[in-house]
Symmetry: C2
């Protein structure tokens, strides 16, 4: 029995390089079905639903949708609003008024929670509606997923960044600290490991929020690497925590910002790099120490994308519509790895992903807690897609010296 | 009358994406001439010459040289040493001992000065030698050049970065400050202007070291933009100066580092972004203000390169050898623009480029001193090469509202 009515798609949370692939996948697939009378897009995620701020995507050209699919960051714009049940009640009123029978929300675990509450509301009032959460996050922290759309491209950016840093620090030696996004899950910082090609390549050390960060152990590890290679490249997650479980940036910043989700703002995560730079200079006596906080570039840089990530982001959108139409179900689309490298998609209950956070499994982190295992490299490499650049070194022989030197 | 002997090539200063194109151009061209008996590469620039640390590049495969050409950052490694006349005397002693008759130094204006002193030394002692400075710098600040190899790729990185930032800030509005490399010349920060595609796109404001930076005028301009667009994207050169001519980062940092050239280290240039972020929050009452310092990524990121820059970097190397062999001259290779878009190369006297700095001409900067002109966009666009990505927006019509809202 076909459910007849409109479809609504919205995007929430931070940008990824491929979030509009998912949008295009949903819109193009939804437009194929006669029972989906129109396809609307909410501007600014749930905030736009409350405002009834909709675009009629039935009147968007296929060609432009394909161009938009290649553009990073939410084309429908985004929001950081995290609806409570009153807010979700307002959303539901609008959906009902517009006869929306298919609701697709592209986002992370907070967005999944929104879909869950709206869906419960619809069921409670006997309004028949399909509500599907479609995964998206560079953090790769959604439960039930082998990995999430958006992660592969961001991971590729991190790997390419550290490949360049390796070359830079090789030419002009010193210590380099790169601060990478990741509040609770270290997947992105860990992806820097793919930059290691030659034996002396960095990152020599990788610090993740999944392990306790101890400043003395850190300094000892930097010293050991520097004594050996006369250089040291380090990747650090912005969310690294001290022994008491507090983000180390917390003890460094007096005035801490909180966003609407109650998350600590790490926008000043350059503080981590600065503090550690000072410590290395003072305690290890190394003069050339540099740090970068990769910031917004790692999630929206135009021109660094994984083709595998693009394909999968497109497919999660397409599958979301297919499952809603053919299976008459609600839930959250998840990516399942079925081979090396192949994937398939399944629908998991909204409650299984909503508000939950997945972190790096133990087998991906080395015993010392300061690098990754080969199992992680094997896991992450295919997600970065084809055509990953690779640096080359000269291998010409040394010339014998002619002058007598003191 | 052919000058018979060895050739030596070295690389100095900071990395670029195409500096090894120039290395390959020199080595491959030099290996064609019978009078060039061997081609050596000095490891770590002038520091490696003093140490007699040479690679025999006559024994490097052409195929590997082509792979190295695609790799950013000095394959021969680099140095920040700025030789004085005593140091240059040491260099000259080593060149003479190894019967080096062709000396090619790839670098910026400091490297040109080194070549000049070594060349003077050779002339004074009647040692016949060709000494050629081959241009390289992402800063685009060498006199006598339309632009410099390395600049186009770095400019492309900046443009692609700001394209992504535009999309990010469009989805989640606020104020964004991007701090771009450039001590004295604003070319790189100015290149962010190419990110403007749609009318409301940023960067809305661009601050350059060529103009006085006034904090009150800055805040007024940010407020004006924000009032109009509810967002504001700003590009700032790390070298922006206050009314007294001091870099504004100077008044912000107590312990200032100096490098061997006497240049102020701007490695803590995130301080600029942090100070200005605080000012905007406090004085304009805007809550979402973010800043990134692009740091090392902008000069060594692997996978963002201009094909035009690659071609030209290869050609300056090739032409350097040809001029030294066929014209028996010393000097500095310079890029001359001959059409839109075509170039040719000329040799300029070493003294015309050594130690000098070129800055943005007035016709490239707008009257308010906070953006660029169309003349600059016309100038810079071809240097970024082909295949520059371009973002696309949805253009679907708005849906009429159905609910009565208070």
């Amino acid at each position: 029995m076909a459910l007849i009515g409109k479809a609504l798609v919205a995007q929430g949370g931070g940008p990824t390089a491929v979030i509009n692939q998912t949008l295009a996948g949903i819109v193009l697939e939804a437009r194929k079905f006669a029972q989906i009378t129109k396809v609307y897009g909410a501007v600014n995620g749930v905030a736009g639903i409350i405002r009834e701020d909709f675009l009629d995507l039935t009147q968007e050209t296929t060609h432009n949708l394909e161009q938009v699919a290649l553009t990073p960051s939410s084309a429908l714009l985004s929001t950081r609003d995290k609806p409570d049940s009153k807010y979700c009640h307002e959303i539901f009123k609008v959906l009902k008024a517009h006869d929306i029978r298919y609701f697709f929300y592209i986002g992370g675990n907070d967005s999944a929670d929104t879909v869950r509450i709206v869906n419960d509301e619809a069921e409670a009032s006997g309004y028949e509606m399909r509500a599907i959460h479609v995964p998206k996050t560079i953090d790769n922290d959604l439960t039930g997923n082998d990995h999430t759309p958006g992660f592969g491209s961001a991971a590729r950016f991190i790997a390419q960044a550290f490949m360049g840093i390796n070359l830079d620090v090789r030419a002009l030696p010193g210590v380099y600290l790169g601060i990478v996004m990741g509040r609770h899950a270290g997947f992105l910082a860990a992806s820097s490991a793919i930059a290691q090609k030659y034996p002396e390549d960095g990152p020599h050390l990788i610090y993740l929020p999944e392990r306790i960060f101890d400043i003395d152990e850190f300094l000892a590890a930097v010293k050991k690497t520097y004594d050996r290679h006369r250089k040291c490249v380090v990747a650090l997650s912005e969310g690294i925590c001290d022994r008491s479980g507090d983000p180390i940036v917390l003890s460094l910043r007096k005035d801490t910002e909180f966003d609407a989700h109650g998350n600590v703002s790490l926008s000043g995560s350059w503080v981590i790099g600065d503090l550690l730079t000072q410590q290395i200079k003072e305690k290890l006596g190394i003069s050339r120490v540099r740090s970068d906080t990769f910031g917004y570039l790692q999630r929206s840089f135009l021109g660094c994308v994984s083709d595998v990530d693009q394909h999968e982001a497109r497919e999660v959108g397409e599958r979301a519509v297919q499952m809603a139409v053919w299976n008459n179900v609600d839930g959250s689309i998840a990516i399942v790895r079925t081979g090396y490298y192949s994937v398939d998609y399944r629908l998991q209950p909204l409650a299984d992903v909503a508000g939950k956070t997945r972190t790096m499994p133990d087998e991906f982190i080395n015993a010392e807690g300061n690098h990754v295992t080969d199992a992680f490299k094997f896991y992450v490499r295919p997600l970065m897609g084809s055509g990953l650049p690779s640096p080359s070194q000269l291998r010409a022989p040394r010339v014998p010296k002619l002058l007598e030197r003191e």
